[in-house]
Symmetry: C2
Subunit: 543 residues, 2 copies
């Protein structure tokens, strides 16, 4: 017997989770709140609503309809925010073009996503012109210029002029909340970029749940209605981690910096009283080094760090400036936010540094665990490692037009992050490795990075690579490939003794000590000089 | 052409919005957080999870399965919280029995909801025994006693004993998020109680959006992770306004007071450091008057007032004790919260009192307007009145097994609250009247309560009733029925002159002055002495 369903909703009562529904509250409660672009252009939320309507009419005039795709090539701007809303609200799909890709890759993504219209900032004109003749589906290009540059030939019009000429009212329709809203291409290290895509329902639920995760913090790591928000991860990259949607729903003041120039960013933080941002470690590092920032008070700034791990050193430098830094974790495929390492008041102080650099605690609705190969959770003891797998309502269900790749993402009802880590009793996840760097042996996990580090500590060792090779009994066993320093000699037994010393101290498990150690004269490298473990695995897999 | 849907989700990827999903985050991040009952029983969230599993197994042992209904008769308790989760998580429906109804009405609701199991607190044993023989669907009764009272004959067991005997693990299934989770009967002033019901999807979205509305406040009116929550509107009444679900999702400390006894409540506030509650004005009034409370520091207490309007006087008294009081608005049919009158920092001070007693600003996802008879929004100018209509994802779609009543609730895709009010430029709604007390004339609204107040100010008037009567030209016109004070005389023209004086001052509109004024010797009353406007309308409708 099944639970009784609520009588099927007649359309009159239905309230699908659509992006347009995020606008009701801010327009009612904060219509005069500001949206600032580079400190120069100032709009209100009331203007935002009007401009969304005008943009929709302008796009409709260019043939955009439900099912069309509009590609955006711009730096972070009020215009991008308008596209975040207007395009999906029409029932069309917004492609946020990853302008960090090569021109060839951008061409590939525009063709692969079947873009109908491209909106191009003047700064990207050279790239666009270079690929234009090979675009297969684009019918119209629109132009953006911040400094009144004339519209080049072949463009249907300029963004501001088109908005000015369009009517402000647009009757945004209701439709299925599972309709695709956005698409974005990841920068895979191997192969072609892959498109991830999210529905209206997914974006609305990410907005509510991540918004709640941020707002529920009383002070550190919180986003409240009196904050001032500025993105520092690009809007083309997974919707700037979804924060523009959250900021809009809360009706907070928003600041869009255009291109990321340290001096400009720091000036905006000061001038517009920015209190909440998010960025990758590199940007934070740049800002802390910038001479323009030395005199600026950053002590009211809350900053999510993500994209790659924040080192303790960087966290310390940020704390010395008073910045409330904390880690956020996720990936393109997860919309992206899964965890946040906000600091509780009780943890404040010198001891909070290790917590700030942890991977974080799950936000509402995120069901996350570290699991063994049979999808059994590993103990939440802060040391038992497993693969990080997750379930939430906002996980991409696969890659666009690419079912083969999609299958590897999901198994057993969980999204597999390919990250290895452990969880402690307070829910803090710590990611330690990528799964490809881990060796699974007898149901246990061995970190190849950790083994390499320990082997390299032997004075005779010049270079080392540890890979997993198939083993009939244990599934996989570690194999160490060692290049000796010039003039040094060492045998396998001596190196094992070196490692057993670490095992006796509890640094590694006894079963982590490899039986097979092979001395070689050189190790395969990639074109950029990194260890080519894939080639090494292929070479040594047979034993 | 329709927007492209995300490929239909295979069940492995699906993440339905089910009540069980609210538990992931608190169990991961706050497993040792406390849930306190009357200061005597203390559990952790870890215990909560175990007890939910045990309760489900115990109920399954009594034949409860997906589609069954479990009725709860208890004061606010940790047990009730366990039922909030375990029963719907099984796919069954939780009926929160309104113990303020008469025994006959309780009987009616248990039969109407087709309850299978009833859980009865010893305090309600007399009521239950009185109606027991007339229960049509109840197969099993379970007993609750706080003081070890023996299980009476005819009960299948005692709550704690059943839990102790049951296994802690229960595999809660996935199912359609539109499955009914809870049902509750309103105390209609006329006719039989009506059942409202909510789905898992509705409760999860109410939890996320109202939670976000509360958490997004930086200070006043906020619910954050460091708060301590205690309900003071009963858990049987629209899930204590949904706050237990929100508190659980945020992993905050929770305090359940049992029966509402002022001395006990105040002691719990002090002893458990309660910082967040919600209640009707009567309870607040009681607590402020209680001698036990005079010495207790209430200055960290945030308090939503709802159910009926908070007077300026009550708000002032609460502020004098330092309580952060503010209005919340909704009704059983709206799950219930639609608006909250949280105070911004900039509004703090003497001037904040009128804002605290306003009806409030919409929480996220609430699309709310005041509308004229054609569902056109009235201007947001803080004075143009219209009926309050709303759309949100958590509005009941009708009354249980009562399609006829359901139809009056919805019209044109909006839920009609039957309240009249206006909205200002900052989004503050102010409800001024119930629609039945308003007269619609020529597309405008006249408040009968306001007219009665002005007429009663004439020294010759003893009693007055204003009703709307049909009018061919204007739709409806006001008719004033006046009883003169003994020994006084007055004619209609003189009374109209009195009213025109107010119209000249802008207090009422000129079209609000009634043409028809009838002097009568007495006015029809109800059994409790209130004006019986229904009878008056029937009597005078024909003119």
């Amino acid at each position: 017997m099944n639970p009784p369903l609520i009588e099927r909703t007649p359309s009159a009562y239905a309230y699908p989770l659509l992006i347009k529904q995020l606008l009701h509250t801010p327009l009612a409660t904060a219509p005069d709140q500001e949206i600032v672009y580079r400190g120069q252009v100032r709009h209100t939320y009331r203007d935002l609503a009007t401009r969304i309507g005008r943009l929709a009419n302008a796009l409709a005039g260019q043939g955009i309809a439900p099912g069309s795709t509009v590609a955006m090539m711009d730096w972070d701007s009020h215009r991008y925010l308008e596209c975040f809303f207007a395009v999906p609200m029409m029932g069309a799909v917004l492609q946020t073009v990853n302008i960090r890709l090569s021109p060839e890759q951008i061409l590939y993504t525009l063709n692969h996503a079947r873009a109908d219209v491209v909106i191009v900032n003047a700064e990207f004109l050279p790239v666009f012109e270079a690929i234009r003749s090979q675009l297969e589906t684009v019918k119209t290009a629109l132009f953006i210029s911040d400094d009144g540059q004339p519209v080049p030939p072949g463009f249907a019009g300029e963004y501001e002029a088109l908005l000015a000429a369009a009517a402000p009212d647009y009757d945004f329709p209701d439709f299925d909340e599972n309709a695709r809203a956005t698409t974005f291409y990841t920068t895979g290290t191997t192969g072609l970029p892959k498109g991830v895509y999210f529905s209206h329902r997914q974006l609305v639920l990410h907005t509510l749940a991540v918004g709640l995760g941020l707002a529920a913090a009383p002070r550190q790591g919180s986003l409240h209605r009196d904050d001032v928000y500025m993105p520092l991860t690009p809007m083309f990259h997974v919707h700037a981690w979804g924060l523009p949607y959250i900021a809009t729903l809360l009706g907070v003041k928003q600041v869009y910096p255009g291109r990321y120039v340290p001096a400009t960013i720091l000036q905006l933080v000061e001038q517009e009283q920015v209190t909440f941002s998010h960025c990758v470690p590199t940007i934070l590092h740049m800002l802390l080094l910038a001479p323009e920032g030395k005199a600026i008070d950053l002590s009211r700034w809350k900053l999510i760090i993500g994209g790659s791990a924040m080192t303790a050193g960087l966290a310390r430098q940020a704390r010395e400036r008073g910045i409330d830094v904390f880690t956020g974790y996720g990936m393109s495929e997860t919309c992206p936010i899964l965890t946040l390492a906000q600091i509780d008041d009780a943890d404040l102080g010198e001891a909070d540094l290790p917590l700030r650099t942890k991977t974080g605690r799950p936000v509402p609705l995120v069901n996350l665990m570290t699991a063994d190969g049979e999808l059994n959770p590993t103990p939440r003891d802060g040391k038992s490692v497993g693969e990080v797998v997750a379930r939430t309502p906002w996980l991409t269900q696969g890659y666009l037009h690419n079912p083969a790749s999609s299958e590897t993402l999901w198994a057993g009802g969980w999204l597999h992050t390919q990250d290895i880590g452990h969880i402690d009793a307070r829910g803090y996840l710590q990611v330690t490795d990528r799964i490809k760097d881990v060796i699974k042996t007898g149901g246990e996990w061995i970190s190849s990075l950790e083994l390499e580090d320990l082997i390299a500590r032997h004075p005779a060792v010049g270079e080392v690579a540890v890979i997993g090779v198939p083993d009939e009994k244990w599934g996989e066993r570690p194999l160490a490939l060692v290049v000796l320093r010039a003039g040094q000699s060492l045998d396998a037994d001596a190196l094992r003794t070196h490692l057993k010393g670490y095992a006796d101290q509890g640094v590694i498990s006894r079963y982590g000590v490899p039986e097979r150690i092979v001395f070689v004269s050189e190790l395969a490298k990639t074109s950029v000089g990194k260890l080519n473990k894939r080639a090494l695995r292929e070479q040594y897999a047979a034993g």
